[in-house]
């Protein structure tokens, strides 16, 4: 929630995530917040972004909220239906996907991430969804953007499970590993935007109302500060908020 209550953290997250989508991107998008960010981009600054779903959906333009990528509402307006081999294979593994927009449970300093399982305080492991196409997308797309809510425990030097490789794994670069693409280039949360390059992670901007020091304190991975300091993320526009509230997520499933 913004300090003055004009938007929620989820709304801010969807807006900041959407700004990572470039017009013309061919993007495979994951379940939940990535759907929100991608659809918002498609309806605002990136009308020529082409979205793909690993379930075998090409270029959907849904107009009502959906319960995930397996919800037929999310496939509305698609121009073609096909297979996972076509989306994760021909498109992603074949080098035709410029962007993967994905959620994560946990991220490391090089943007590798975990969607498989977390370790509870008592040491027990709790399993979530697994990779699905997440590993394939992060292994093969041009660049990866992670969108997730901000909690300190989600940032870790060593992941409980490395589902998807980022810019490097241990001391091995993507090229060493045999992977194309640049890997994770941004982690967008409901508090900030972290960008990554081959030197590491940078606290690029904090959202309106956040102080960089507070965000740094809650982000226990090495974070550089850009020349000129951490900026403020642009606030959501009225148009963006209206679109989220009226069309994208009127029930607040993802952004409340």
């Amino acid at each position: 929630m913004s300090a003055d209550g004009r938007w929620t953290g989820g709304e801010m997250l969807a807006v900041a995530g959407s700004l990572q989508v470039h017009d013309g991107d061919v993007a495979v998008i994951g379940l939940g917040l990535p759907q929100m960010a991608a659809l918002l981009a498609q309806r605002t600054h990136a009308p020529d972004a082409r979205l793909l779903l690993e379930i075998g959906v090409f270029e959907p333009m849904p107009t009502e909220p959906s319960a995930g990528i397996a919800d037929p509402r999310m496939w509305r307006g698609a121009t073609a239906f096909g297979t996972t081999l076509e989306v994760l294979g021909v498109m992603a593994h074949g080098g035709r996907v410029s962007l993967g927009l994905l959620g994560a449970l946990q991220v490391d300093p090089w943007g590798s991430f975990n969607t498989t399982e977390v370790e509870e305080a008592d040491g027990r492991r709790r399993r979530f969804r697994g990779s699905g196409g997440g590993n394939d997308i992060s292994s093969n797309a041009g660049r990866i953007v992670i969108v997730m809510t901000h909690q300190a425990r989600k940032f870790a030097e060593t992941l409980t499970f490395l589902t998807s490789p980022g810019r490097q794994v241990g001391d091995r670069s993507r090229a060493d590993l045999g992977l194309p693409g640049e890997g994770t280039c941004a982690v967008v949360t409901d508090r900030c935007v972290i960008t990554l390059d081959d030197h590491g992670a940078t606290l690029e901007s904090v959202h309106p109302g956040e102080h960089p020091d507070a965000v740094l304190a809650d982000t226990p991975i090495p974070l550089a500060v850009p020349d000129g300091g951490t900026k403020e993320t642009p606030a959501p526009t009225a148009r963006q908020l209206a679109f989220i509230r009226n069309e994208l997520d009127p029930n607040g499933w993802y952004t409340s």
Binding site: L31, G32, L53, E54, I55, G56, V57, A67, G68, I69, A70, D71, P72, W75, A78, F81, G82, T83, T84, L85, L88, G89, A92, H93, S112, T115, T116, R124, R125, R126, R127, F128, R129, G130, S131, G132, G133, G134, N135, D136, S139, N140, L159, F161, L162, T163, S164, P165, V169, R172, R174, L177, G178, L179, P180, W253, Y254
Partner: protein
């Protein structure tokens, strides 16, 4: 005069043909197009010791695991989209009762694809550098190799040939030629990889009524088809019916509370009825 085979059987016969300990590939995706009627029938038949492969596991697999039918699951992911996780699967993994073998979605689809095509093995770059790799290498299911052409590191995966596959289709003709509408995820590979391909169909028509250009699974590959309208409930079947959100929520509420509550769900909705029609009536009540 040449003839066309008649491959239509009852759902009970279809399920009864699957021995304990079989390797069964399922083809639903989270909350869409799951062969729920088939899973119910298998639980009622008391089938056990199955090895299940499902690339994007959903309701059908969670039911079978809850029903004690499954010893081993091979998957790339499992969820009920935003309705929740696969609680029976995750509980089985946590307690060690369920052996889990994990791939990326593409890697598992490629293993099925290689099985379908009879390829000696298949290659990919996916999973390089990830924690998915080590257990698969240890189990002999993946080899780290180099391309003989450019020396690039890559992975070799052996073909996967499940004993059976079960796909929930829209329309099948009596010879098993089947149409699936909407996105197909790993359905084509799953049906083609298995030694025995079984179908559950919303609708059955005579041979000759389908446009051959629309056939997703050729009858030449299919062994039997059972007719079960609404057999995917409470999951969605594209163009036919929506998922039943209320039922999914009550399922996840039971499944997520604990094994006992999950079992009570099965007692009521699966073991407490004798046909899928009875279940549908109960679910609608």
């Amino acid at each position: 005069m040449s003839t066309r085979p008649d491959r239509v059987v009852s759902l009970r016969e279809l399920a009864a043909g699957i021995p304990d300990g079989s390797h069964v590939a399922l083809a639903g995706f989270a909350i869409t197009r799951n062969a729920v009627a088939f899973a119910h029938e298998l639980i009622r038949a008391g089938t056990s010791g199955l090895s299940v492969t499902q690339v994007f596991s959903g309701m059908e697999t969670d039911l079978l695991v809850a029903g004690g039918a499954v010893d081993r699951l091979t998957y790339a992911s499992g969820s009920l989209d935003r309705f929740g996780l696969l609680h029976a699967v995750n509980r089985g993994v946590a307690t060690g009762r369920l052996e889990l073998i994990e791939y990326s979605g593409l890697a598992l689809a490629l293993r099925l694809h290689a099985g379908a095509l009879g390829l000696p093995f298949v290659t990919t770059r996916s999973m390089l550098g990830s924690d998915l790799l080590a257990p698969l290498v240890a189990a002999g299911q993946v080899e780290q190799i180099e391309s003989p052409f450019d020396g690039a590191p890559c992975l070799a995966l052996p073909p996967l040939r499940p004993d059976f596959s079960v796909v929930h289709v829209d329309v099948a003709d009596r010879a098993g030629n089947a149409v699936v509408d909407g996105p197909l995820w790993s359905i084509p590979e799953t049906a083609r990889a298995s030694k025995v391909a079984l179908l559950v169909a919303e609708e059955i028509v005579d041979v000759g009524e389908l446009d051959p250009s629309r056939v997703t699974i050729p009858g030449s590959l299919v062994h039997a088809v059972a007719h079960v309208p609404r057999g995917g409930h409470p999951t969605a079947v594209y163009g036919r019916y929506d998922y039943d959100a209320a039922h999914l929520r009550s399922y996840v509420a039971a499944a997520g509370t604990g094994a006992e509550e999950h079992d009570a769900y099965l007692d009521r909705f699966v073991r407490g009825v004798s046909t899928f029609d009875e279940y549908l009536a109960l679910a609608a009540a």
